[in-house]
Every structure is written in C-alpha cells, then in structure tokens.
Amino acid sequence: MTPLLSLRHVSKTFGSGPRAVRAVRDVSFDVSRGECLAVVGESGSGKTTLANMILGVFGQSSGEIRFDGRALPSRRTLEHRSAIQLVQQNPLSSLNPKRSVGASIRLGLDVFGIGRRSDRWRLVENALEEVGLPGDFRRRAPAALSGGQCQRVAIARALACQPRLVILDEPTSALDVLVQARVLRLLDGLRRTKGLSYVFITHDLSVVRNVADRVAVFRSGELVECAETGAIFENPRADYTRRLIGAVPVITDHELKLRESLSGGLPA
C-alpha cells in the first residue's frame, strides 16, 4: 500500500546568496496510514519548516511531497487543506481571541463544507465531546480556558475538519506534566479510534518513546536517522541520537541505566 505521506529529496532554502538559510536539506521519509512518526530535533533544526511545507503554507525549494499517492500541488485544494491539519504548541495563540471556541471550530466546517449547515453546531459539540470537553464549551472565550482545555479545543478544531493526517508541532511542550499526560493519552486514543496518522514534532525524547511508531531525528535541516522507535532507543545509530538520549532528564534508576548504556562514553 502506498504511504499516506511521502517526502522525496525535499529541501527548503530561505533567502539567497551568502545569507541563504538551508532550513531543510534533501529530506526523504514516509508516513503510513495510522502511523505516528515523531520528528525530533533541537531548535532551528527545521522541524516547523518541514511542517509548513507539508501543510502548504509555503512550497519546497526542491523535491516532492506526495499525499495518498499523488504529488501535492503548491496551491492546495480544499480537500487537501481539510485532510492535513495542524495543532500548534501554544494553545492560546492558535485560537482567535475574539471568537468563541465554537466559532473557531465551526469555521473549518464552513470553509470545507463539512456536514449540512443546520447540523454544524451539533458537529462542533461532538468534536468538543471527543476531546473530553462538554459540548456547551462552545460558548466560551479562549481567554477563559486553562492551557490544557485550550489544547483540547485546538485538537477538536483539527479533528472537526475530518483530517487524515495531523501535524502536531510541540503539542504538549507548554503544558504542565499532569496536563501533558492527559493530552498525550487523548491524542493516542484518537489516533487509534479514528485511524489517523500523525507527524508528532517534539524535542522531548521521553514523550517520543511513548507515543511514536517511528522516529526521524533532525539536525541542522538534515535527517540524521529514521527508524522504528524501539530501534532508536535500543540501538541508536547516530552519535547525535545518542547525545540527545543522553541529555534526557529521567526519574528512575531503570531509565538511568538505559540512558547510560546508550550514551556511555559520549560527552553529554
């Protein structure tokens, strides 16, 4: 079966001449149906640039991005725009503060023509309930929500568009650990029940270990290693991956042993 998403030799350069920034360099990978691919790397490694190209915010400088077997055009159709959705790190800034939560979610339904007009508020309420919020949350203003509730709303908004692929750009990095745990479980459950695919962008390897099927490690715009999650954590090939694992703060002796055995000998 063809992968849902496929990148071949994708590069992105911002600007030109001596000041050019090669943000993504000759990157190839696939995401299969129902799969969660984690994209990890430190700041500036090109993760968000990659997300923007997949979403069609801007085009790649070279290479090809295929979705469901066909090359994605630089001008996306409505169908593509609804099929690939984004959830960002900062939940509050990703919602329009002047709109109610429900209006933000409904916007996608109106733009993409999802459901009958008369049915759409019900769909909005369903989406909220799917992320564990009461339907009448739709009347709330974003400012009246906690960080975790905001992120649930952002997830509901993405899901309401009936996507096949969701790009999660540091979805839990701004959340407290108890809230993060609940949002991670929610995302994991939704992917399984809805058969979604995720591109899960994060710098947190302990999150990756527990949510991803495969991991793509980025450094300075380059893909240094891409493998199944188990392989990355049991037998990382790249020194850089070992260094990343070596820097993860851990809370149990069991983890400490694993970390030392993987990063042993390398400077932190």
């Binding site: 407290d176 650990v177 108890l178 993060q180 745990a181 947190d204 949510v211 993860v248 932190a268």
Partner: protein, 290 residues
C-alpha cells in the same frame, strides 16, 4: 550549625480588583551550607514568588501582603531596611533565571556587566582588574576564549554560552545563597544538560548553597540533594532526593511522578486522578541533614 536560608511559615496574599488571592499558605523551607535544595511543582504553585520574597522584591509591591520568618545565615531579613536588602542581591544572594539571554543587559558587553557585578562587592575595582577576575570566572565555566566573550554583546553569543556567563556572574561574588529559577528551561536539552552539570560541579566545589526551582522532576533528581514539593502554595512533601524518588509518599508527588513519560517506554503515562488527596497533610522523609 545554622541554616544558610530558613523560611518559616511564609504566607502571601495579593489584593486585586476581585478581592484577595492567597498564594502561599505557610511555606517552610531550610537550606544548609553547601546544600542544593529543589522546590518543585507545577506552574502557578508559588515557586517564583517564594524566590522573589527571599530577594525582598515582592515586599516592595503595594498590593502584596507577605508574612513569615526569613533568615539568611541566622540574620533576620525582615529587620533589614529596603536598601540593606537590595544590597544583598548580587552579593550574598545571587540569582539565575530561565532565559540567560534576556537576563543579561543587551546594550552592554559581557565585560562591562561583569565589572558592574564585581563592583557590587568591590566598589572601586578598576576595569582591568575586573576583566582579569572575569576571565578566571569564565574559565571556571569552561569558556576558554574569554577575551572574545568579554568584548561581546549577549546577542552575539549562543544561548548556551550566555547561560555559562550567567552562571559565572552569579557566583562571582561568592554568594552564600544562589537561587536558580528554572535555569536553562529556554535552552535546548543538550545545552541544558551540559550547563546544569557545570553548575552542579561549580557549586559543589565552592560549597554554595542553592535554592533550585524547577517544574521538571528529572532535572531535580539530577541536581538536588533535598526536595520540597509544592502544590498550590503548600509544601506537600519534603525529604532527601533519593527517598522522595524511591518512595514518594504524598498523593500529589505520586501523581506527578506517574505523569512523567519514561524513556524505557510503557505507553503514554496514566495520571492517577483523585485530586482531593492532593490536599492531604505533608509527608516528611527524615535524613539528608533535615
């Protein structure tokens, strides 16, 4: 031997338009000589306000009501005048904040900022002598091209380099107490790990007592000798780091730990609910100098 820092039954209330909000409900905490003590909890639990009270900063706000005992090396801080308290900052008590680059002054070179820091202890210090001492301090944080760094502005250096600079500056005047509030949280994980290790080694060598504030249990486990867990303005558990991590006793501490994803795997963490128990009485682990 008396504690370097002792906080006794600290209360804090803010008066606002919509009435009074109670932020600290009787926090007690002590740090002994050479000890690294962590205050760990979620955002909004009262970690930074506790630090700002020790620095005498919140007491300057007209709408903040602070009460409780504060002692630095046995001296009662509440008896100090505002000027005397200000005089402690950067000398007896120094601090490191989350984002190193924004905690440095963007319009002065690193060398000029070092000179200003050193002159807090040593008012007439000439620039040449200040640069010499700054150079030695930079070497202690493994910066070897110190001449270039002293001439640079913060924006010309990487975040990790600025973090080292900030650590060196914080220790420049041999403070009795270093307060580090979420140090390096704004940095990449590899850089954060490096600079924390560096800071750990440095305070260990100099015997500086540290109040280490963090929301990250893993970082706390690696850095601290003793831990105070704070939940909504109350210490819910305290004890030596090993004891807390091996046998967390309070429902809130246990919930926090259960929520941390493990690099050994096991799936997304399952946070145990039961928030009512988060208000249970404090759990104390003896030992570790406590």
């Amino acid at each position: 031997m008396s504690a370097v820092l002792e906080i006794r039954d600290l209360h804090l209330r803010f008066r606002g338009h919509s009435g009074v909000s109670e932020v600290l409900h009787g926090v007690s905490l002590d740090i002994r000589a050479g000890e690294r003590v962590a205050l760990v909890g979620e955002s909004g639990s009262g970690k930074s306000v506790t630090a700002r009270i020790v620095l005498g900063l919140l007491q300057e706000l007209p709408y903040a009501e602070v009460s409780g005992g504060l002692f630095l090396e046995g001296a009662d801080l509440n008896r100090l005048s505002r000027r005397q308290w200000q005089g402690l900052r950067g000398t007896s008590i120094s601090m490191i904040f989350q984002d190193p680059t924004s905690s440095l002054n963007p319009v002065f070179t690193i060398g000029a900022q070092f000179a200003e820091v050193l002159r807090r202890r040593d008012p007439g210090l000439p620039r040449g002598a200040a640069d010499e001492r700054a150079g030695a301090l930079l070497r202690s944080v493994s910066i070897h091209d110190h001449a270039r760094v002293l001439d640079a502005y913060p924006f010309q250096l990487s975040g990790g380099m600025n973090q080292r600079v900030v650590i060196a500056m914080a220790l420049a005047n041999h403070p009795s107490l270093l307060i580090a509030d979420e140090p390096g949280t704004a940095l990449d994980v590899t850089v954060q790990a490096q600079t924390l290790k560096l800071m750990h080694d440095l305070v260990e060598r100099s015997g500086t007592a540290v109040l280490f504030i963090s929301h990250n249990l893993g970082v706390v486990r690696e850095f601290a000798d003793r831990v105070f867990v704070i939940y909504r303005g109350r210490i819910v558990e305290r004890g030596p780091t090993a004891a807390i991590f091996e046998a967390p006793g309070h429902a809130y501490t246990r919930a926090l730990m259960a929520a941390v994803p493990r690099i050994t795997g096991g799936g997304p963490p399952e946070p145990n609910d039961g928030e009512t128990a988060f208000l249970d009485p404090m759990v104390v682990h003896e030992g570790g100098g406590a």
